[in-house]
């Protein structure tokens, strides 16, 4: 047992709310050997990050370790003095946060922040650590490794920043690194590059790591063994291959099954039928810079068109053009064959009613001071003119339609709902207008996989019942596979490729579509290794995008 680097025993953590201490983690054990990578997965609120931080002997404000021990290399971090912890943290244990953009100090250059740790801990001199930093940047395959360190955090991209942060964690050659969702906020093509670099460097230096994520496919690439958490309890732990091939617990199986939801393909579109929404040669600009170039596609009745692309590709801008928030500079939008006024202020009530929108962040899409009944009731009153009992009846119908119990939820505020329930309220508000067409802007990307699947099934059900048309904006190809009928791939404000889903997922592809498809992690633990062998490190991720 002497090769155990980190040994957590019966760890219990409590958080303070409403004047009492409530349990967050109910007794978790972790064993980590030198050079081993433990993947920790679970839904939001499962306590992954809390355990991650606790393995450094640290808790957030208002949270305390109430029981158990965290023994790192013979030192119990729970009872260790501040001085002992100060000596260990940063030097032998390092942490990589989810959002590198929020974790770097924007006022200092990358290399200055990089060498702060080694100099503080007396590991190396300033010049040595700067030299080492450039070496690490090179190994992490950052562009211009000798110069990039002299930039400020806002001058490099998100993926590069995440790699710079990994380099910073590596600066003292720690024995243990905690990765807290390091790629969750990144695009797929960026993610794959970061994943490859992290895995590479962890192997090179034989560093042990705890890799926290909610994405199973990611953890399958990274971890030697996987631990599944649910509401502060351990569900099960096993080595990666065993866990993927034969999970024991029901909960784990349900997590694995999420990706299997797929709608049957619909018959081909009647070419003569008038599309519900038709986008004609739209070019739009923010200020004087064109962000959309000649975008055209049709959305037919009862169909789902998925618009796919990375951040900055113009997906949401297209939605803003359709809703009229950003009037196009050239081109126009047709609705049922009728040309719509470009600016939403010039559209009349019935035109506004026909196209509704569901937003990505349900938190900002619902007015926090309005009850659910008010939020859904407003469009009912505004468009349909229903008041009093009739309005209440209609709201109850809508709540039943989104599978929430009307009497229980009518008077609640958004803060009293879970993320998935909030998103359902967003859907109900859109349905209340009785539209023909709904724009879904990344509606599932902020949700846990199980919850997201529930939302997708609900949207599919509503489409079948009400004959709705969806424009489904997403960057997640798994979502596209499960819900779309037609796919539009966008890049840098232009449509790269479009067509029925089945064609899109079959070769031959446009090179960019091919790259997107190949960058989506699969559950196979050898996927990343195979991909790297197949294509070589320089032909994946952003590097490949830049070559196009």
């Amino acid at each position: 047992m002497s090769d155990l680097l980190l040994k957590i025993r019966d760890l219990k953590i409590e958080g303070r709310s409403d004047e009492t201490w409530n349990p967050i983690i109910n007794g978790i054990d972790v064993d980590l050997k030198k050079g081993e990578v433990l993947g920790m997965i679970g839904e939001s609120g499962a306590g992954k990050s809390t355990v991650g931080l606790a393995s450094m002997g640290y808790t957030r404000d208002g949270v305390r370790i109430s029981n158990g021990s965290v023994v790192f290399d013979g030192v119990d971090l729970v009872t260790a003095s501040a001085a002992v912890k100060r000596d260990l943290l940063g030097k032998r244990i390092a942490y990589v946060a989810q959002s590198a953009a929020a974790s770097f100090n924007p006022a200092h250059k990358l290399i200055d922040q990089h060498s702060e740790g080694p100099v503080q801990h007396g590991v190396s001199s300033r010049t040595d650590s700067e030299q080492d930093g450039m070496e690490l940047y090179r190994r992490l395959r950052l562009p211009n490794p000798d110069e990039i360190g002299f930039r400020y955090p806002h001058q490099v991209s998100g993926g590069q920043l995440q790699r710079a942060m990994t380099a910073m964690a590596m600066a003292c050659r720690p024995d243990l690194i905690i990765f807290d969702e390091p790629t969750t906020a990144l695009d797929v093509t960026t993610q794959i590059e970061v994943l490859a670099s992290i895995r590479d460097i962890v192997e090179q230096f034989d560093t042990a790591a705890i890799y926290i994520t909610h994405d199973l496919a990611v953890v399958a690439q990274m971890a030697d063994k996987i631990k599944v958490l649910l509401k502060g309890d351990e569900v099960e732990e096993a080595d990666t291959r065993t866990m993927l091939s034969s999970p024991k617990e029901e909960y784990t199986k349900s997590l694995w099954a999420v990706r299997s939801f797929e709608r049957p393909a619909k018959p081909a579109i009647n070419v003569k039928a008038t599309p519900v929404v038709s986008i004609h040669n739209v070019t739009a600009a923010y200020g004087t810079v064109d962000v959309l170039h000649d975008v055209s596609f049709d959305i037919h009745a009862g169909r789902t068109v998925a618009v796919v692309g990375e951040s900055g590709s113009g997906k949401s801008t297209t939605a803003r053009c359709i809703t009229g928030l950003l009037p196009p500079r050239i081109g126009h939008i047709e609705f049922d064959g009728q040309q719509l006024p470009l600016d939403y202020k010039k559209r009349d009530k019935s035109q506004l009613r026909q196209a509704q929108m569901i937003y990505q962040m349900a938190d900002t899409a619902l007015n926090p001071r309005k009850s659910i009944g008010e939020t859904i009731g407003r469009p009912v009153e505004f468009y349909m003119g229903l008041t009093g009992k009739e309005k209440r009846k209609r709201v109850d119908e809508l709540l039943a339609e989104i599978e929430l119990e009307p009497t229980e939820y009518f008077h609640r505020l958004p803060s009293e709902l879970s993320g998935g329930q909030k998103q359902r309220i967003g859907i109900a508000r859109a349905l209340a207008a009785e539209p023909k067409f709904i724009i879904c802007d990344e509606v599932t990307s902020a949700l846990d996989q199980l919850v997201a699947e529930g939302i997708l099934r609900l949207l599919a059900k509503l489409q079948d019942e009400l004959g709705l048309s969806y424009m489904f904006i997403t960057h997640d190809l798994a979502t596209v596979r499960s819900i779309a009928d037609e796919v539009v791939v966008m890049k840098d404000g232009s449509v790269v490729e479009q067509g029925p889903k089945l064609d899109m997922f079959q070769p031959p592809h446009h090179p960019y579509t091919d790259l997107l498809l190949s960058s989506v992690p699969e559950m196979d633990p050898d996927w990343l290794t195979n991909l790297l062998q197949e294509r070589g490190v320089d032909n994946i991720g952003d590097a490949a995008v830049d070559k196009m």
Binding site: E19, T323, L352, Y359, A365, N367, R369, F382, S415
Partner: protein
């Protein structure tokens, strides 16, 4: 020089004591994490607090008069301590009472309330009560001249007091207690009206600027900048001088002008706040959803934005009320505010200010101007306590 040596010596001694205290505590508790990781500065703080407390208790029990000469320092210190403890006790009782009576919601509110907030709420209720029912509570009229002038506060005939006038009379023989009570009505009432006006003006324009943006926002913001560039007290003093000339012999007109002048000057601060708060709300998706629904400007401002801006605006209302109230007192003190013979706390402080010179040998005489000043200070502190508590609550709820 001698005093400096004493101070430095004392600090070094306390630092030494802190070090000994920490070492002792570590030994006594067998190195508990709290004492083990206790910084020396914090230990010093404990020692300093202990020394200060001991000194206060010792000073409190010093004789009030030595050989017939009153010790003003001791007497004022005793008053302050008794006042603070008394108010604390009263607010504790107030909070305890409301934890047991009232609706379920109000009970819950009082259960989680800190003592400072309970004090603030209690004082605001008392002030509101007094100012509304001033006519019934006050023993005499505010303009009534009652004969004996300069009666000393305290009601003790041996010291020149009169039980008829518990807080004494002023230089022309008006009852100070009655004038304090009427002063609450005039000063607090006018301050409240002025603050409401400032919020109506500043809030509406601020939200309008936030929602519409563009040239209207530019125009309003630059106007506000220009107004804010002028020191507000001097500006209002200037305008009040003009207003007084316009009003001529109509004293009530001066009060109306004052309300408008202070409201406009203070609305600039409200404008800035509501514009900033509004701008952060306008970018939310639910506002976009409402716009796309085709909602009008009024619905957007009053139904979507206002409920979400309420917490910071209410907090600002409390603070702004204090500032307005102090401005009125200042203007009255300078002679251009509320016009005599109406009672007003600012004017009272000014009229009675020379009595402060008696402080060192006749504390009972010197207290007269302090009563009105104390009334202003208490309300300001009380409102700020409530505002702090509300801010804390609203920021805590967002979690």
């Amino acid at each position: 020089m001698n005093a400096l040596i004493w101070i430095i010596g004392g600090l070094i001694a306390m630092l030494g004591a802190a070090w000994v205290f920490r070492l002792g505590a570590q030994k006594a508790t067998n190195n508990k994490p709290y004492f083990r990781d206790l910084p020396l500065g914090v230990a010093f703080g404990y020692v300093f607090a202990a020394v200060a407390l001991t000194f206060s208790v010792w000073y409190f029990f010093q004789p009030r008069a030595v050989e017939g000469v009153p010790q003003a320092g001791v007497i004022f210190f005793r008053w302050a301590v008794i006042g603070i403890l008394g108010f604390a006790a009263a607010s504790w009782v107030f909070r305890t009472v409301f934890r047991t009576i009232g609706t379920e919601g109000s009970k819950k509110l009082f259960r989680s309330m800190p003592l400072t907030a309970a004090f603030g709420i209690m004082m605001i209720i008392i002030y509101a009560f007094v100012s509304i029912f001033a006519g019934l509570i006050a023993p005499y009229g505010q303009e009534e001249i009652l004969g004996a002038a300069n009666v000393v506060a305290g009601g003790d005939p041996a010291l020149g007091g009169d039980p008829e006038f518990p807080l004494g009379t002023d230089q022309i023989g008006r009852d100070i207690l009655s004038r304090l009570i009427y002063g609450a009505q005039n000063t607090v009432g006018i301050a409240f009206v002025t603050t409401c006006l400032a919020f109506l003006l500043g809030g509406t324009l601020g939200f309008l600027a936030a929602v519409l943006g563009g040239w209207l926002d530019q125009l309003l913001s630059r106007m506000v900048d220009a107004l804010m560039a002028i020191p507000s007290l001097i500006f209002s003093l200037l305008l009040m001088t003009i207003a007084t000339a316009w009003a001529g012999s109509e004293a009530w007109l001066v009060t109306i002008y004052m309300i408008f002048i202070i409201a406009v000057i203070d609305s600039t601060r409200v404008f800035r706040l509501s514009r900033a708060v509004g701008q952060s709300i306008v970018v939310m998706d639910y506002i976009e959803a409402a716009k796309l629904r085709g909602e009008g400007l009024g619905y957007l401002i009053f139904r979507e934005i206002l409920p979400n801006a309420l917490a910071p605006l209410l907090a600002e209302f409390g603070l702004r009320f204090c500032f307005v109230f102090l401005t009125i007192a200042s203007l009255s003190f300078l002679g251009v505010g509320i016009q005599p013979p109406k009672a007003d706390w600012g004017t009272m402080v000014r009229d009675l200010s020379q009595f402060i010179n008696f402080a060192s040998f006749a504390p009972n005489v010197a207290v007269t101007p302090l009563l009105a000043a104390g009334a202003i200070a208490l309300l300001t502190v009380a409102v700020n306590f409530v505002v702090d508590w509300m801010l804390h609550k609203s920021s805590g709820l967002k979690e």
